[in-house]
Point group: C2
Chain length 249, copies 2
């Protein structure tokens, strides 16, 4: 049993705690956080505390805090016989205070509290400061997901960038679609089967082959009609730029 | 039984033929198209022909052809006692030759041949030239989907525009993500759980609430690191513009 302490009480912390709570390979000892209200939700999984000195004996201290807080929070963790991991895609391993043995445990997924996940399928990107910790990190990874690999900080950032396009940016386009529906008093439910198919399709077809629409067909008539409907602003700029980007390929 | 003839042999034609082939409310009489090879795939559903004069007796002639072809193909259809429908989101009802009774039967979905759909859930947007045809169109719609409503040509175009953002444009962002993975020798499989969750999440949360990431958090450090990784070009412009659009809200 690997003893684990989680520091942080947000969505990543929640899903890791949930997964490890029922794991036979991990003993979740403590969840440490400042926000007492968020911590309450973790009582079902482990002891909760707001005190770093309660860490005590643990093999792993996992930081599930915001990127900017990794440095300062890791500095506050008392030195001890444990591996300190952060969970950020865009942050170097070296952001963790060098008084600790360091590593990265980055689940490549967008977590919200109420979603359910097949944890075993979430890609997990790993990094260690010293090869001595590699075996421990692999064991911890295998307790969570069968889909894990080692990437260095630079490679992890590149993957995080790809994720930003397909997650944050795609979600923004979904929002523009929702906004257009609401402005025209259509139910946003109309968009959902289309959004679902857009994502489903590329599970088995490359998005390049899946591309359809007026930009792909160079259907200038429809493009003009669409542009005439869009008021001046960011959505219109996005329409023009993505249309031109589709046509570049 | 409503007798239907489909003109066209693309993906929309295929899924309509597939649905109506087993319908108890529709008798699919003919599928008419120019491309003999595509037509072969329709032999399992109905008679196939490349000859417009084979239309004969039918209640509905459904055009599943490209937007630009709606005018010329509908002109070639001999006048008769049937309702002529097109299936386009971005095309006016009036594009159909005025020698016919006219209507629109627009399934708001992105069809590819090998996908499977719950036809009953696909939103269907309807329009008729004369109220006399309304009942026939409703009956035809109900044979395909329980989710249908009437929209005029202008409203339908506005919905088509919203669909372009959430389907064609989102798919292009997925392609940029795939390209970034391939350029860095990551498997594109890494992106799939994230893409699936991005779409799944907004089935029950508004995308505005679902938005996360460096743009939303105004995490300038990560934004700078991402921009440094992107070569000059459309992807970098898209990164800057969508980041700024997320921050506008």
């Amino acid at each position: 049993m690997i003893e684990v302490t989680i520091i942080g009480s947000g969505n990543i912390a929640f899903h890791l705690a949930k997964a490890w709570h029922k794991s036979e390979k991990v003993k979740l000892k403590n969840v440490i956080g400042r926000n007492q209200k968020s911590l309450d939700e973790f009582k079902q999984f482990a002891n909760v505390s707001s005190d770093f000195s309660s860490i005590g004996s643990t093999a792993v201290c996992l930081l599930a805090v915001s990127d900017e807080a990794i440095g300062s929070v890791s500095e506050q963790i008392p030195q001890g016989d444990y591996l300190v991991l952060h969970t950020s895609g865009a942050t170097n391993l070296q952001a963790i205070s060098d008084k600790h043995r360091r590593g990265v445990f980055y689940p490549f997924q967008s977590f919200s509290k109420n979603s359910t996940f097949k944890y075993a399928e979430i890609p997990l990107l790993l990094e260690v400061g010293t090869d001595k910790d590699k075996e421990l990190l692999i064991q911890l990874a295998e307790s969570f997901s069968q889909n894990h690999q080692f990437l260095d900080s630079e490679q992890r950032l590149k993957l995080h960038l790809a994720g930003t396009f397909v997650n944050n940016f795609a979600n923004h386009l979904f929002q523009i679609g929702f906004d257009l529906c609401q402005a025209n008093k259509f139910s946003v439910e109309l968009l959902k089967p289309l959004i679902r198919e857009t994502a489903d399709k590329i599970m088995h077809i490359n998005p390049k082959e899946a591309q359809t629409g007026p930009a792909k067909r160079n259907d200038k008539d429809t493009i003009e009609k669409h542009l005439a409907l869009l008021p001046e602003g960011k959505s219109k700029e996005i329409y023009k730029l993505i249309t031109s980007s589709i046509q570049d390929i």
